[in-house]
């Protein structure tokens, strides 16, 4: 039955039909599916399916990513209080847009996806200086810094990923903290993440979730 529910949920998310997705979740709960199963066997696989769609070059779009992320976050928020045990946080990250960049959509999509995967995300907001990224990551014990940029000059700025790398190096933190970048300039130049000294990049907010999980796995003792 769970497979069938999962397929129905995935289709509703793919169709950006929030009401139907929430109804499917409610019906599942009514039929005895556990809240933990809703999150880990239905919501998380749905995010993974969205990632497969992108990697298989099926035509997906920003609105689908936005809705998939929002629905995942909404369902997770509803389910977690119903868990028998508080879920284990598998990692922490800080996220923000690069200095001078005021486009926040990408990081919102990332946050929604990561919530379902039990990753604690602290949103540092818009136009975040390099020093603040590093200071906050240290203070909060975050192992990943996510930097979103929509414009070429903010992606390449000395006060963006390049500045974060310099500070990590100066403070001897490169083994403890990874940098992931994303946003339009990276989609137009797949080597740009190396130019700006990041460890990884993602084509979109949905894919970023998977890459961040991998980076956290690299850091975890």
């Amino acid at each position: 039955m769970k497979n069938m529910i999962s397929e129905q949920y995935q289709q509703a998310v793919f169709d950006t039909d929030r009401q139907l997705a929430l109804q499917i979740v409610q019906n599942a709960i009514d039929n005895g599916v556990l809240p933990e199963e809703i999150v880990f066997d239905i919501v998380v696989p749905s995010i993974e399916d969205s990632i497969s769609s992108v990697s298989e070059r099926r035509y997906t779009n920003l609105a689908q990513h936005f809705m998939a992320s929002q629905i995942a976050a909404e369902v997770t928020e509803m389910m977690v209080p119903l868990f028998r045990q508080a879920p284990e946080i598998v990692g922490k990250m800080v996220i923000g847009t690069s200095s001078g960049d005021f486009h926040g959509l990408g990081k919102r999509i990332v946050k929604g996806c990561l919530k379902a995967q039990m990753i604690e995300v602290t949103d540092l907001g818009l136009s975040v200086p390099a020093e603040r990224f590093v200071d906050q990551a240290v203070e909060l014990g975050a192992a990943v810094i996510g930097i979103s940029s929509m414009m070429a000059h903010t992606a390449r700025s000395e006060n963006g990923s390049i500045g974060v790398r310099r500070l990590l190096k100066e403070r001897g933190l490169e083994q403890q903290i990874r940098i992931i970048v994303g946003g339009t300039p990276y989609n137009h130049d797949e080597r740009l993440y190396r130019t700006v000294c990041a460890d990884a990049w993602a084509r979109n907010g949905i894919e970023a979730g998977a890459v961040i999980v991998r980076l956290l796995g690299e850091i975890r003792p």
Partner: protein, 343 residues
Amino acid sequence: MTTALERLFLTAQGIPTDRIPVFCNMLEQGAIELGLPLKEYYSKGEYVAEGQLRLQKKYGHDNVWGLFYVGKEAELLGCRNIIYASDGPPNVGDMVVRTLDDIEKLKVPDDITSHPAFAEIKICMDILRRECAGRIPICAYVTSSMTLPAILMGMEKWLDLLMNGPAEARDLMLEKCNQFFRKEIRAYREAGANVLVYANAFGSLDIIPERFFRELSLPWIRRDLEEGGVEGVVYYCGGARMNPVIDQVYQATGIGTFYLSPLDDIATGKGIINGRALCGGVINDIELIDWTPEQVRMEVKRMLQAGMPGGKFFFGTILMPMSVPEQNIHAMIDAAIEFGAES
């Protein structure tokens, strides 16, 4: 000698000319030419016009712009805070629509041309018309009803409203943006613009699902263009791909020019257009920053080989980042002129 305007006109008609038109979209680079900080440069229409004229003279491309920066449209609708950078385009720093109630309050100026934010645009356009009319195409940038809300309320909030409703608020937003659009495109035409770049990121399937495109984008594209017609209008999705929607947009509107994304396959786009309209092949100007001049030359050659067969093709850029080196701009335009002259 063929002028840039004649070249564009002849190419659009499918009539062979000396070479393909070469559109190079540089805005902030004008400030570099004048040696001015960006904030000062954008404060006067004289500066922007002079920057555009100097750039055109220096590089020899086939267009000039009356556009200052994209946030100008937000200023015309009440935005009072533009955030300037030293190395890139200004950002809108004050969302005009913060809550759904603000949509009701959003005031579209009765006469855009008398709005203080249009005054310097008008000065710029007057100079460009005086210096370029009948010789060089003058471009204006007009954002579609479906896309304008993204700069008035932010991309997140607009996507939220678009996907989750309430539908009444969404439709009111679109209605007001459409009122503004019709006035804006008329104002630019009257000011002398003969290339109207219709910016519609929300008219790309990279941004919205097919169903939303059919049910919302396409009807609003029709409404945007029904009053003023499509003369000089260029369909542009802000760098997002458009090949999957070209046929529907053409059938719905008869738009005469499609300006592809760097991520669109040029030969595929030409095939879909199938001689019905002019096709702009657009270079990836993010990679242009780091390519060597020889790589730039080879990329331009590749693009032109894909796009030129059958005619009705021209070369273009997105809004080029300031950090594209001058030598690469020269290499790009020189290559487009050289390979674009081959029959």
